[in-house]
């Protein structure tokens, strides 16, 4: 099945979805989908009997700065039953890039979406755990964006140990004993 037939099968499942088949240099089927309906389209791709894309192999993003729309979110899907592969792509604008999560369809998307948020700053609405994944939680900026510098120097952040007098220390120990009892 090539892009056009998959797109046709998808249109049968979601009649008014504006999906657009595309060509790729590696012969992989590619479909562009609108960002607003991604969760619905994802569910249809997983559940439609002639598609059955049950395996989310990869979820990532590409930054095409300075082009607009700037980002593309890419879902690499595999249908093990039908032996199909598909790249589902969503274009997103440079300002306020966000789309809804697909964790309800493929639970594996949880960490993959967190990684995209962490490295590209693309927000996933309705994500169950929208935290950074790889970078420290207090990190500034999104490293894989093209306008993020390759080498930056950050002062090491250190925290002073809590300073208490001997008196306060005894009181704390005493208080802890009372609460634990």
């Amino acid at each position: 099945m090539d892009s056009t037939t998959i797109a046709a099968a998808l249109k049968a499942a979601v009649p008014d979805a504006e999906v657009e088949p595309a060509e790729s240099r590696d012969g992989h089927a590619v479909i562009y989908a609108p960002a607003v309906r991604i969760a619905e389209i994802a569910r249809a791709l997983r559940d439609a009997p002639e598609l059955r894309f049950g395996f989310l192999a990869e979820l990532t993003a590409v930054d095409f700065f300075p082009r607009e729309p700037r980002y593309e979110v890419v879902y690499v899907l595999v249908s093990i039953e039908r032996r199909l592969r598909l790249r589902l792509k969503v274009r997103l604008p440079g300002t306020d890039a966000h789309l809804s999560t697909v964790t309800g369809v493929w639970p594996a998307a949880n960490w993959l979406e967190r990684e995209v948020w962490d490295l590209f700053g693309i927000a996933f609405d309705g994500h169950p755990d929208p935290r950074r994944l790889l970078m420290p939680e207090d990190w500034d900026g999104f490293p894989l964006r093209k306008d993020y510098p390759v080498q930056i120097r950050m002062p090491a952040r250190t925290h002073e140990a809590l300073q208490v007098t001997e008196e306060e220390f005894r009181q704390n120990v005493q208080r802890d004993r009372l609460t634990r009892r």
């Binding site: 240099r25 989310l56 192999a57 990869e58 990532t60 595999v78 093990i80 960490w111 790889l134 490293p143």
Partner: protein
């Protein structure tokens, strides 16, 4: 009579722990010995390899990708080369394909040996580790023979291989292939019917087929749970369809099933290696004949002006890759392994994204251990075979 107190205890396991295979931190909530919740914290080894790759020329990315999943270096570079070659629209010679298959399968055995050794040690069978590392040494010697580097040979290049096979390669591989089946029986004697090992692993860390697929667990973990998916069979590459081998699948989905699947996979890999080795001629083409991509042989560089110019251009500017994107997966030791590569028509990649099977395995850890005993966490982490370099990249 005073009321019995019951409260949960939060325990930090890692980031420095001998059985976490790198730097993985788990925050466990315990009720006695039972695990109520588990929260992995990753990112300690994040080195921004994908960002670094965008600054390098295409051929220079290969050493980087080999260091991501440091136990399956040659599978990583193979997947990267296949994606870029697809973008370039080139086909490597038949002999190169066979050598790549042979090296990828030896890499799989290598990776599984490290897994078996460390996993055995963690559940109390220390001798297995010594046995496995003894045979792994032979594989590292083969790497040293072909490239002079034992862990990260960078032998696979875009367009073929770095150089031709050295003298003695066939003998070294043949010696390993003859020796290994007996040794594999030895490992199985130590574990497969060992009552202590069975107690530690059977029914532990179980995951169902549906959950495995929903959490994108393919590779040995998925196949141990019944997900019958192997890239070599489902979407053959490099001519795997002409090889005779089976894909072991089990349905139990526990730690023991993963052990059985991986041991059976090593036997199948041996079969592929034998078939490939018989078809590889000692000398012949080792790269495509394209002066833009393959550097000229050294003796011509020293004697011919044209060759010198070509050599200089390849090493100073690299080659350009037509704009586009490609994703050609291979079956690595941990499951589908691929590189989503985007090119903008210059001599450097626009984006390189590695599909990290270990990241997904790490994510699924929670589903395997919650409700089990704390001692089983060690067995389960061992069985999913995570490489933290691949998780964090």
């Amino acid at each position: 009579m005073p009321e019995l107190r019951s409260e949960t205890m939060t325990v930090n396991m890692g980031p420095q722990h001998p059985s976490t295979h790198g730097v993985l931190r788990l925050v466990l909530e315990l009720d006695g010995e039972i695990i109520r919740s588990l929260a992995p914290t990753i990112g300690y080894l994040h080195t921004g390899i994908e960002k670094t790759a965008e600054q390098k020329k295409w051929q220079q990315v290969i050493p980087l990708v080999e260091r991501m999943d440091y136990l399956s270096a040659q599978s990583n570079s193979l997947a990267f080369c296949l994606s870029v070659e697809r973008l370039l629209g080139i086909e490597v010679p038949e002999r190169v394909r066979l050598i790549r298959i042979l090296l990828a399968e030896l890499q799989r055995i290598n990776s599984h040996l490290v897994w078996l050794g460390t996993h055995g040690m963690e559940v109390g069978a220390v001798s297995v580790m010594l046995y496995c590392f003894r045979e792994r040494e032979l594989l590292l010697n083969i790497n040293e023979l072909i490239a002079g580097f034992r862990l990260f040979p960078s032998y696979m290049r875009i367009g073929g291989l770095r150089e031709d096979l050295p003298r003695g390669f066939h003998d070294a591989v043949r010696a390993f292939l003859d020796r290994f089946p007996g040794k594999l029986d030895e490992y199985e004697d130590l574990l497969t019917k060992n009552e202590i090992y069975l107690e530690r692993t059977r029914g532990v860390g179980r995951i169902s087929k549906e959950n495995a697929l929903a959490l994108s667990l393919v590779g040995p973990i998925g196949r141990a749970a019944g997900v019958d998916y192997d890239v070599r069979k489902a979407f053959p590459y490099l001519g795997y369809e002409s090889f005779d081998f089976a894909v072991p699948v089990r349905t139990e989905g526990d730690v023991y099933a993963r052990y059985l699947v991986r041991v059976a996979e090593m036997r199948e890999s041996l079969k592929i290696c034998r078939q490939a080795l018989d078809r590889i001629t000692p000398t012949g083409a080792f790269a495509i004949d394209d002066p833009r991509i393959t550097p000229p042989p050294k003796d011509r560089v020293y004697t011919e002006m044209e060759a010198l110019i070509q050599h200089f251009l390849i090493y100073s500017q690299g080659f350009t890759v037509p704009a586009g994107e490609a994703y050609v997966p291979v079956e690595g030791p941990r499951g589908e392994q691929g590189f989503y590569v985007v090119a903008d028509g210059t001599n450097r990649p626009w984006r390189v994204k590695s599909r990290a099977p270990s990241l997904l395995a790490c994510q699924a850890l929670e589903h395997m251990v919650v409700g089990g005993l704390i001692a089983d966490v060690i067995a389960v982490i061992g069985s999913i075979d995570v490489v933290m370099g691949d998780v964090d990249r």
